[in-house]
Structure formats: structure tokens, C-alpha cells
């Protein structure tokens, strides 16, 4: 929320937000899709390696986060929209909720896991 205070600009006439500024091209979308597909393939392969514990989980989580960021950033235009004036408001709304959800529920799971 603090972010948006510095970003605040009611005096500037806002523009409609997505007609002029750059969105990815068709080619870029395909590239992202191929990367996503490759990561998914690696994930599946990794899960068949017979690893256990952190060796299994940590790389999978990392790949999951990368996929998440690519979809949110490119397909949902977050990384493009956020370059607009005040575009960071999107981060505020969505990012705050993401962070909140992750933190809160990690604490809950930790409380159950360790019972301390």
C-alpha cells in the first residue's frame, strides 16, 4: 500500500491502459509456451527419478514458481502492465494476496508439522 502513495497521480490524465503499449508478439508467446512445456517435461522426469525429500521437492517447487511467474508475467501481462504508470497497483492487489496466502498458510502448515 505504501507503494501506491508515491505512485499516486490523480492529476495526470490516465490513459486507457492497454492499447498502445507493447504486448508480447505471437512469437514471444510461442517461445514462452515452449519453455513452459520443457519445464513441465523436466518436472515429470524429475518426479520419476526416485529421489526423496528435499532433493525431490526443492527443484520441483523452483520449477513450479518459474512456471507461475511466466504465466502471470507474460500471459497475464503482469510484467507489461506493471510498466505503465500506476501499473504496480496490480502487484499491490494480486501480489499482496499471493504473499499473504503463502506466508499465512506456511505458518499454519508449520504449526501442524512441528507441533511446537
Amino acid at each position: 500500500m505504501t507503494d501506491s502513495i508515491t505512485l499516486d497521480s490523480t492529476d495526470t490524465h490516465g490513459h486507457s491502459d492497454h492499447d498502445d503499449h507493447a504486448h508480447p508478439t505471437e512469437k514471444q508467446y510461442w517461445i514462452v509456451f515452449v519453455i513452459l512445456a520443457v519445464i513441465t517435461a523436466v518436472e515429470i522426469a524429475w518426479s520419476y527419478m526416485g529421489l526423496e525429500g528435499p532433493a525431490l521437492v526443492v527443484p520441483l517447487i523452483i520449477m513450479m514458481v518459474v512456471k507461475f511467474l511466466m504465466i502471470a508475467g507474460v500471459f497475464m501481462h503482469l510484467s507489461f502492465d506493471s510498466k505503465m504508470p500506476n501499473g504496480r497497483t496490480f502487484y499491490l492487489c494480486f501480489g499482496a494476496a499471493m504473499v499473504l496466502a503463502i506466508l499465512v498458510f506456511l505458518v499454519v502448515l508449520a504449526a501442524f508439522e512441528f507441533q511446537i
Binding site: S4, T10, V104, F112
Partner: protein, 652 residues
């Protein structure tokens, strides 16, 4: 749910709007009841929120008096154990979800657009839907009184006592589905109001020029937006457990009942703050106005509110200190809880600093505000004493806690709301409330309130546990319980003085030929006082341009050559005339109320027979499409200022 369907609300673009089917047309020239049922005006919706909340307030209040009557003497048999359990559960549920939250929503709805200089909220139809769906959920919850008795699991409804095995009657189903439906309203309301505040401010109204009330409401709505889904998830699990035999809270299958507690309190603690923050916002408007000084330390007021909003997410487990979460968790949450007292304390001190050196006008609104500052302080201090976890192991689930949260929610939130009612009443209805009755109202409530809840501190420390249908003579609780019961009746009667006051002030005003109270009866500070009272339907004739915090006040007062502040104009001189020529307003719509009341039909179906869900679901789907395809306006009405070639877009 309907929010999901928003994108279907298609703007008609350059194509000329037409009426797809007769039924989809907007209500025309609605008057009377139909006007209220189909309105999308944020002010009317705000008033309806307030009235609905007052209606539920009376039900919840009667439940409270029944509780106190039962506890007035030991071994009393006025209420049976079963009835008592239902009454205290419904009292808590109604007061939290159907009284304090919607009063906050009422003020937010009425005031937000006025205080930021907007014509309406961002999505007027969703706004109407939020209200109706809240009302539908609330009525469904209360219908359980007649359909087998209210819920009996406590407002927190801990698993596994909320399961079908331990509570086979339908009360908890009504609790679950009623709040589920009301929660949809809170969620869509939150999306709507946040968008409104962020996006619809008048030119020059930067975030740091917004009134504190707007800020507190913004924080509140963010809390709602993120907290309600967690409760919804918990309620979904409970619904599946009770109606479809799932095992989420079935201990024989190895389930952990603490899951419910975590989910409930992750919602429940932000809930506490979202009940109190709007009241903080209200007194932050009232105290400066009647101290004739700006709020002391505006940035601190704003940031402490934001800090409370953030920290409110990290303290939920302080409701669970004795539930066996382990010493490390207890330590962490205990320390976090202690520190949430800091921003709250900052607020209290800043209000006092605003009064410092001020010239106080002690009318009823101001008295209630000072009432909040003092009574809430008591609740805050008792809160710190049981933030100390070892101490909480003695105090939790005793009347000490009951005293604490009533000081916070009644002495805090409700006193704040009463201050707001007395303050904004002339803006809303065009006449002032009677000051004499108002003062009786205030002093009676202070007396009754402290007599009711003050002794509960003592009872709690003497070991009287909560949610007890009865107690024994040998426990030594007799005296203070009697005092508390006497106090509760004083409180009940004096609270009703508000209604007496409203009725009497109105009759006198009417008898006097409805004299104009003026745009600015209090010499107030924010821009909602720059329009006529009652606020005209179109709010502002021209959108104001804001250049300062408390912009309206700065237009009235300016420094003269010697640097002394002088009144350069009165509020009424500056006020807009209320001429709505050329202002286009969104047309009313049937669909919000139809959609809202289709949901309880599905709810009753889930409780009684799944077949019943089919018509409910059909109606829901029809309403969503009806909503989406509805033309922007009643096509037969001439819309001022907008030619037919200009686009007409459905207000979402």
C-alpha cells in the same frame, strides 16, 4: 460468485443498445418501494444497509437480554441449556456479521463516493447486489429461529462440535450457508469499494489527501477481500462434511480439528480489525471537526491504520493459546499480538493530541467519539493483558474476554458508529437529531455499558467461564452477574433512545415545515459537506477539484494579512446548489435483487432436498445472463446530456 461472471457484462460498444427481451429492460421511472428495491444509488443502498443492520441489531439485542436474564441469578431455568446455546451463538453471529460489519458497510457506501468526490461507486449494480445478498444471507440465517432453532455451535463454531454427529439439528447448516451467502456480498462489496477508492477520486484527491475515514475503509475492504475467502474455504469444508459426508473434521479418520480453528481465526482476527477500523475512521472525522483543529499527525493516523491491517494477519493464533499449538507458536503469536497494541495506541494518543488545545464543541457526536476513545482504551488495555499468553491461559474463555471484546466492539465500534450517525444524520436525512435526547442517549449508554461489561472483568478474573448456561451459588458469581443484568437493561433501553430521537426529530422537523439544515451544519472539513443536505441524487453538480487535505475547510478559512486565520466564507455560501441538470445517472435494475435472492433458494435446497437446488440454480443463471445482457439504460427515458449516438454502457 457473480463476480466471476463480471466479464459477461458486456459493454455494447458502438452498437446501439437495444432491448433483447422485454424482461431485460431496466425499471422505468421507479418510485416508492420499487425504487428502493431496484436502486443502484450508493446513498440509498447505504441507508438500506444501515436499516437492515438496525433490524438485526434489535434481534441480536433481544438475544443479549435473554442471555443476561438467564444469568442474573444462579441456577436459573429461564432458558434451557439447548435454547441458551442457540441464543448465545446467534447473538454473537448476528452482532458480528449482521450488525457491526454492515453498519461499517453502510457508512462506507454512503460516504466513500461523497468524500472522494465521485458520482457513485465503480460498479453500482454490484453495489446493490452486495447489499441484497447480505440481506438474503442474513434473513436465511435468521429463518433458522423458526426452522428448528438457531445454530448451537458458538459463533466460532469449532469442529468437531459443528459436525453432523454432535449437532444433528439444522441450525449449523443455516449458520454455514447464511454466512456463506452474506460473505459473497462482503467480497463483491470489497472489490467494488477498493476499485472506487483507488480509481474514482476527484481531481487532486491524492491518496494522502483522502479523509482518514476513506483510508480506514480502504484498509477494511482489503482485509475483507483477503479474509472472507478463508472463511469461505472453511465453510465449504464444513458444508461438504455436513451435507455430503466428507471427512475434513472427522477425527475417527485422523482429521485434526485444529484445522478449523486456524482457518476460522485467519479470517476471524482480520475480522476484528475490519469491524473496528471504520469506527476509527469516523471518530477521526468527528474529533477534528468539533475540536476545530486538523487531525493531529494525519500520516501517523493513516500508517497506523495500514500497520494494523498488516499486523492483523500475523496474530490469529492468539485465539488458540490454550488449544495446544505448542510453545514456539505461542511465543511468536504472543509477541506479535503485544506489538499490535503500538499502532492502536498511536491512534488513541493522536486523537487526544487533536483535542489538546482545541475548542471542543461537546455535542452528541463528539461525546460518542470521546466515548470511543475512553471505552476502547479499556478494551485495548485488557487486550494487552491477555496478549500475555501465560495470563491468557487463565483468562481465555472466561468473562474477562467477554468484557474485553465488548469494550472493543461496543465501546469501540458501536460508539464510533453512533458518533457517525449523529454526525452525518443531517447530510443523509436533511435534519439534525435532537441534542437533548442525544445526550441522554450517550450518558445512558455509557452508564449501562459500563454496568454491563465492567463487572465482567471481575467475574472473569474470579473464574466465571463463558458460554455457561448457568452457574452455582457456591462459585460466588451472584452479585456481579446481577449488576451486569441490570446494566444490560439500562443499556438496552438507552440504546433505543436513538430510534426515539430519530422519530421525534423527524416529527419536529416536519411540523416546522422541513426547514433546510444547510449544506454544512457543523462547520465541517471534508467535501461531502459542500453539497446540499440531504445529499442530492447526483452527489456533486460539478466534480470538485481538491488541493488539500480537508479541502472544504481550507476554502472556508484562510489567513489574513497578519497571518491570522479568518473565515472567508461559510459552508453554505460555498455549497453547490444541487442542480443536477446534465448529469447522467445509471438506471436502476431488477437483477441485483433477483440474483441475490436466488442464492438462498439453493441454500435451502442444500439443507432440505437437493431437488430444490435446481430451480435456485436456474434462477441464478438466468439472473446472471439477465444482468449481463441488460441494456445500459431504460431506453424510453431521455438521458440528459447523452445523445443516442453516444455509448450507453451497463453499469456493472
Amino acid at each position: 460468485m457473480a463476480v466471476i461472471e463480471e466479464p459477461l457484462a458486456l459493454p455494447s460498444g458502438t452498437t446501439k443498445a437495444r432491448r433483447p427481451l422485454g424482461a431485460f429492460s431496466r425499471p422505468r421511472n421507479a418510485t416508492g418501494l420499487v425504487d428502493w428495491l431496484t436502486t443502484v444509488d450508493h446513498k440509498k443502498i447505504g441507508i438500506m444497509y444501515g436499516m437492515a443492520a438496525m433490524f438485526f441489531f434489535i434481534i441480536g439485542g433481544v438475544a443479549a437480554l435473554l442471555i443476561r436474564l438467564q444469568l442474573a441469578a444462579p441456577n436459573s431455568t429461564i432458558l434451557s441449556a439447548d435454547t441458551y446455546n442457540r441464543v448465545f451463538t446467534m447473538h454473537g453471529t448476528i452482532m458480528v456479521f449482521l450488525v457491526v460489519m454492515p453498519i461499517g458497510a453502510a457508512f462506507a457506501n454512503y460516504l466513500l463516493p461523497l468524500q472522494i468526490g465521485a458520482r457513485d461507486v465503480a460498479f453500482p449494480r454490484i453495489n446493490a447486489f452486495s447489499f441484497w445478498v447480505f440481506l438474503a444471507g442474513g434473513l436465511m440465517l435468521n429463518s433458522s429461529w423458526f426452522l428448528g432453532g438457531g445454530a448451537n455451535g458458538g459463533w466460532f463454531n469449532y469442529a468437531p462440535n459443528n459436525g453432523a454427529a454432535f449437532s444433528p439439528s439444522t441450525g449449523i447448516d443455516f449458520w454455514n450457508l447464511g454466512l456463506f451467502i452474506a460473505g459473497i456480498g462482503s467480497l463483491s462489496g470489497a472489490v467494488n469499494l477498493i476499485t472506487t477508492v483507488l480509481n474514482m477520486r476527484a481531481p487532486g484527491m491524492t491518496l494522502m489527501r483522502m479523509p482518514v475515514f476513506v483510508w480506514m475503509t480502504l484498509v477494511t475492504q482489503f482485509l475483507l477481500l483477503f479474509a472472507i475467502p478463508v472463511l469461505t474455504a472453511a465453510q465449504l469444508l464444513l458444508l461438504l462434511d455436513r451435507q455430503f459426508g466428507a471427512n475434513f473434521f472427522n477425527v475417527t479418520q485422523g482429521a485434526d480439528p485444529l484445522l478449523w480453528q486456524h482457518l476460522f481465526w485467519i479470517f476471524g482476527h482480520p475480522e476484528v480489525y475490519l469491524m473496528i477500523l471504520p469506527a476509527f475512521g469516523i471518530v477521526s472525522e468527528v474529533i477534528p471537526t468539533f475540536s476545530r483543529k486538523p487531525i493531529f499527525g494525519y500520516p501517523f493516523m493513516v500508517f497506523s491504520g495500514i500497520a494494523i491491517g498488516f499486523m492483523g494477519w500475523g496474530v490469529w493464533a492468539h485465539h488458540m493459546f490454550v488449544s495446544g499449538i505448542g510453545p514456539l507458536s505461542v511465543t511468536a503469536f504472543s509477541v506479535a499480538t503485544m506489538f499490535i497494541a503500538v499502532p492502536t495506541g498511536v491512534k488513541i494518543l493522536n486523537w487526544l493530541a487533536t483535542m489538546w488545545g482545541g475548542k471542543l464543541i461537546l455535542n452528541t457526536a463528539m461525546l460518542f467519539s470521546i466515548g470511543l476513545v475512553t471505552q476502547f482504551t479499556i478494551g485495548g488495555l485488557s487486550g494487552v493483558t491477555h496478549a500475555v499468553a501465560p495470563s491468557d491461559t487463565q483468562q481465555t474463555d472466561t468473562y474477562y474476554i467477554v468484557a474485553h471484546f465488548h469494550y472493543v466492539l461496543f465501546g469501540g465500534a458501536l460508539f464510533g458508529f453512533f458518533a457517525g450517525l449523529y454526525f452525518w444524520w443531517p447530510k443523509i436525512f436533511g435534519y439534525k437529531l435532537n441534542e437533548k435526547i442525544g445526550k441522554w442517549n450517550f450518558w445512558g449508554m455509557v452508564l449501562g455499558f459500563n454496568l454491563t461489561f465492567g463487572p465482567m472483568h471481575i467475574l472473569g478474573l474470579q473464574g466465571m467461564a463463558r458460554r455457561m448456561q448457568t452457574y452455582d451459588v457456591s462459585m460466588g458469581f451472584n452479585l456481579w452477574n446481577l449488576v451486569s443484568t441490570i446494566g444490560s437493561f439500562i443499556l438496552g433501553v438507552t440504546t433505543l433512545l436513538l430510534f426515539v430521537n430519530a422519530w421525534k426529530s423527524y416529527s419536529e422537523w416536519k411540523a416546522a415545515g422541513r426547514p433546510n439544515v444547510g449544506a454544512d451544519p457543523w462547520d465541517a472539513r471534508t467535501i461531502e459537506w459542500s453539497i446540499q443536505s440531504p445529499a442530492p441524487e447526483h452527489n456533486f453538480d460539478v466534480t470538485p477539484t481538491v488541493s488539500d487535505l480537508d479541502d472544504f475547510w481550507h476554502q472556508k478559512y484562510a489567513e489574513d494579512d497578519e497571518g491570522k486565520l479568518r473565515q472567508v466564507a461559510t459552508g453554505d455560501e460555498l455549497a453547490q446548489p444541487g442542480n443536477g441538470e446534465g448529469v447522467h445517472l445509471p438506471a436502476p435494475s431488477y437483477w441485483p435483487i433477483v440474483l441475490a435472492f436466488s442464492l438462498p433458494i439453493v441454500g435451502y435446497g442444500l439443507i432440505y432436498s437437493l431437488w430444490f437446488c435446481i430451480p435456485g440454480t436456474l434462477l441464478t443463471i438466468i439472473s446472471i445472463y439477465g444482468w449481463a445482457l441488460e441494456p445500459a439504460d431504460d431506453l424510453d427515458i431521455d438521458d440528459h446530456g447523452h445523445g443516442p449516438d453516444q455509448e450507453m454502457e451497463p453499469a456493472v
